[in-house]
């Protein structure tokens, strides 16, 4: 049987001056009908270049396929004309993207956007087109398609938008579906639903799916076969059970081992003094207005917690749960509507900015995005010493402290003279940690500090955070959406939903015996959960997905 997609010895070159000559080099794999093939790798592995080249959507000025063939149902499409490729897209192959908001046109109703596919590729009449669109929307289990037909993208949730994108790509019944990280931008519970949907549609239609992901949990849930890529080359491929259960290449082994386990290690309760506590913390956005006609969102509703020195408290929740709002209120980057935030004995929730400044050094934060957390125009040294110098440390002494901290976070002290763009994401996150430590804080807040990092780098940064917590006896508030990361690093966790803390307790207890239905839903939606963590929890470090 001819495979639907057959990639043979494909190489795509990068422009001169890039860090390597090829974006992808000599890769060979195929996708059969009725099969989901996952291409997995870290950033820069070439997995997205592969999918874009198949669709003919690669940046033609920078990327040139120089060798090999891409055969769709036996026909080489690398040499096809632009018109041919255009016809194949949609009719034979379709693609869904990571970000469902930007993949849809914000000013056209979604039904019309799905119908456009039919308008371009078929000669159906308007009535038949509409019937087809409604059928496609029913197929992806959208509620009330008749009504939603006229909705605009911003009126739908992220999961619904991704369903629309899937309906759009499948309305012409292509034989090949390419999904490029289609669930990365979604919450875990939504992600689980979308994965189930893709699997269901694939089984029903017998199409081939090329699924790009960085997430071994997703791989475990959805893949039939796995292709592991590193630096543009395939290092290992095979059936999912074989690659995940018995990886042969060291890189695959390293990736799988780097994935945190969902089983929290046992941790003794921490008895240090309370460094940070919040009492009845509220944050409302918007106001009711004079006549009560406005709309109020309770981003944080009566939040209470305590963090002791040497302890890590995790705040876990999906987007919109209010976990970042709590962190920003505690930092006083935004002002809480009511409640108390105590650092030591001082309530910083209500004091004026001028009085607050002297307390700022006690509480520091590491942000999610390593590319925006450092001022690109200032050297690393300037960034790290800025805080201490604000508090009267002499520049020379601050620089000396920065040097020490650089080696603590695992970077060369000479690198202080360099600019942020000369560092990788993981290195920048280390610099941000050094910057926070330079203030000699009591409390360190990590707001999704490892979420933007590749899994292998993530493990190292988690180790570093754990390490500096011990070394400097910090109280750590760890904000994350990722239960696996929370399981590894947190002593206690607090689960938030829509601004309310629904459950809190020691990490091991919450994971072993979740009380609230929402916590249970989060735990079971974690990708790869059924495959890896049902083996009695003994699989720690062995084959745990992220």
């Amino acid at each position: 049987m001819t495979p639907i997609l057959d990639i043979e010895n494909l190489s795509v070159s990068l422009p001169k001056g890039a860090d390597r000559p090829f974006a992808i080099q000599d890769i060979t794999f195929s996708v059969n009908a009725g099969e989901i093939v996952c291409v997995v790798g870290e950033s820069g592995s070439g997995k997205s270049v592969t999918s874009f080249t198949v669709m003919g959507l690669h940046d033609k000025r920078a990327l040139t396929p120089v060798a090999g063939e891409i055969r769709l149902e036996g026909k080489n499409i690398l040499g096809a004309s632009a018109a041919e490729i255009r016809r194949l897209r949609g009719e034979k192959m379709a693609m869904i993207f990571q970000e469902p908001m930007t993949a849809l046109n914000p000013v056209a109703p979604v039904g019309q956007q799905i119908g456009e596919m039919l308008e371009i590729h078929t000669n159906f009449g308007a009535a038949k087109r509409k019937a087809k669109v409604l059928q496609a929307m029913r197929d992806v289990h959208l509620p009330d398609p008749e009504k939603m037909y006229h909705s605009f993208p911003h009126q739908l949730s992220g999961g619904q938008r991704q369903r629309i994108v899937i309906a759009m790509s499948l309305v012409l019944e292509p034989v090949l579906l390419i999904a490029d990280e289609p669930t990365t931008a979604l919450d875990v519970t939504t992600q689980a639903q979308i994965l189930a949907l893709i699997k269901e549609l694939q089984t029903r239609r017998g199409m081939g799916v090329l699924f790009i992901t960085h997430d071994f949990g997703v791989v475990a849930d959805i893949a039939d076969r796995v292709v592991v890529m590193q630096n543009g080359q395939i290092v290992e491929q095979g059936p999912v059970a074989q690659v995940l259960g018995n990886p042969t290449h060291p890189y695959t082994k390293m990736l799988i081992n780097a994935v945190p386990s969902m089983t929290p290690p046992s941790r003794a309760p921490v008895a240090g003094p309370v460094a940070l506590s919040a009492a009845n913390l509220n944050k409302q956005y918007g106001s009711l207005g004079l006549l009560g006609g406005g709309r109020v969102v309770n981003a944080a509703n009566d939040v209470n917690f305590q963090v002791r020195r040497g302890e890590t408290l995790g705040i876990v929740g999906e987007s919109g749960s209010g976990k970042s709002t709590v962190a920003r209120c505690v930092m006083r980057l935004i002002d809480p509507t009511s409640g108390e935030v105590l650092i030591g004995d001082t309530n910083i929730a209500t004091i004026a900015e001028s009085q607050l400044r002297q307390h700022r050094r006690d509480i520091q934060i590491v942000f999610q995005d390593p590319y925006r957390s450092l001022n690109p125009r200032r050297t690393v040294g300037q960034s790290i010493t800025e805080g201490p110098v604000n508090f009267g440390v002499s520049p020379a002494e601050a620089l000396e402290r920065a040097r020490r901290l650089m080696s603590i976070v695992g970077l060369a002290p000479e690198a202080l003279d360099r600019f942020p763009h000369q560092f990788s994401g993981g290195q920048r996150q280390r610099i941000c940690i050094a910057r926070a430590l330079a203030m000699e804080p009591m409390v360190l807040i990590a707001d999704e500090a490892v979420s933007a990092l590749d899994v292998s780098v993530q493990a190292q940064v988690l180790d570093l955070l754990e390490d500096v917590k011990e070394k400097f006896d910090l109280a750590m508030l760890f904000i994350t959406h990722d239960l696996r990361v929370a399981a590894q690093i947190c002593d206690r966790i607090m689960v938030m939903q829509k601004g309310i803390v629904v459950e809190s307790g020691p990490t091991a207890q919450v994971f072993a015996n979740p009380q609230h239905p929402y916590t249970r839903a989060l735990l079971s939606a974690a990708p790869g959960h059924s495959t890896f963590d049902s083996k009695g929890g003994a699989s720690a470090g062995q084959a745990a997905p992220l």
Partner: protein, 290 residues
Amino acid sequence: MVQNAPTLPQTPEQPSIWRIALRNRSVFWGGLMLVIIALVALTGGLFTADPMDINPMSRLKPPGEHGLFGTDQLGRDVFSRVINGARISLTVGTAVAVISIAIGLFLGLVAGYFRYMDALIMRVMDGLMSIPAILLAIALISLSGATLLTVVAAIVIPEIPRVVRLVRSVVLTVREEPYVEAAIAAGTKTWLIMGRHVLPNTIAPLIVQATYVCGSAMLTEAILGFLGAGIPPEIPSWGNIMSEGRTFFQLTPWIIFFPGAALAVTVLAVNIVGDGLRDSLDPRIARTMR
């Protein structure tokens, strides 16, 4: 302890803003033109006849017969007047650009960074924007007499809101950047945050804006001069020369043609530089152009 000896690439320091700009061809050639025009404006007066020198014997002479650009109705040398007029045009253009950018930068920073000042400043700016420069100039001159200063003020005032809007929009996005929040968390004083972390982001768009302000200010100055509402008529600005030549322009077009051409070439040079700067300094466009 994680020991991860970093492999630091030997990339050069970030190139300076001027070096990036000069790599662009239109910035280079437009800039060269401007430099020449500026040199002529600064030193040209030393080598030409007195632009005020009246010579009733050779009135309204065509170019070549008496002087390179001919003479006007009082027998003054048009070439000398055009060369000396360049100084006025460039002074007005530069002064308006510098003053409106300086005021606009300050107000824009304040409006963008302090929420409570935003509405106040922006409503005042909306008001200023509705005043036409020409009307304002006529009003100012009737109040305080025609001087270079009133002309500059009249052109500056309607330009300020455009700069404020630009700066404010940059500040609004930059103040949400995590590195600004990190600076707040590090206890950095507000004015230092603005100077260190916010202001540098406004420089590139402001340089571009400055060239457009400069070009349009030179045009407005000439229009004011032409209408008789500008620089005092005895000073040979390009607008004034054209205004005086208006009476005879069907018979002696050179009196209007040469200052007009000089104005066009200068504004063109400024705009070429501005376009080039926008291409090379705006990161979104620069990425696709390289």
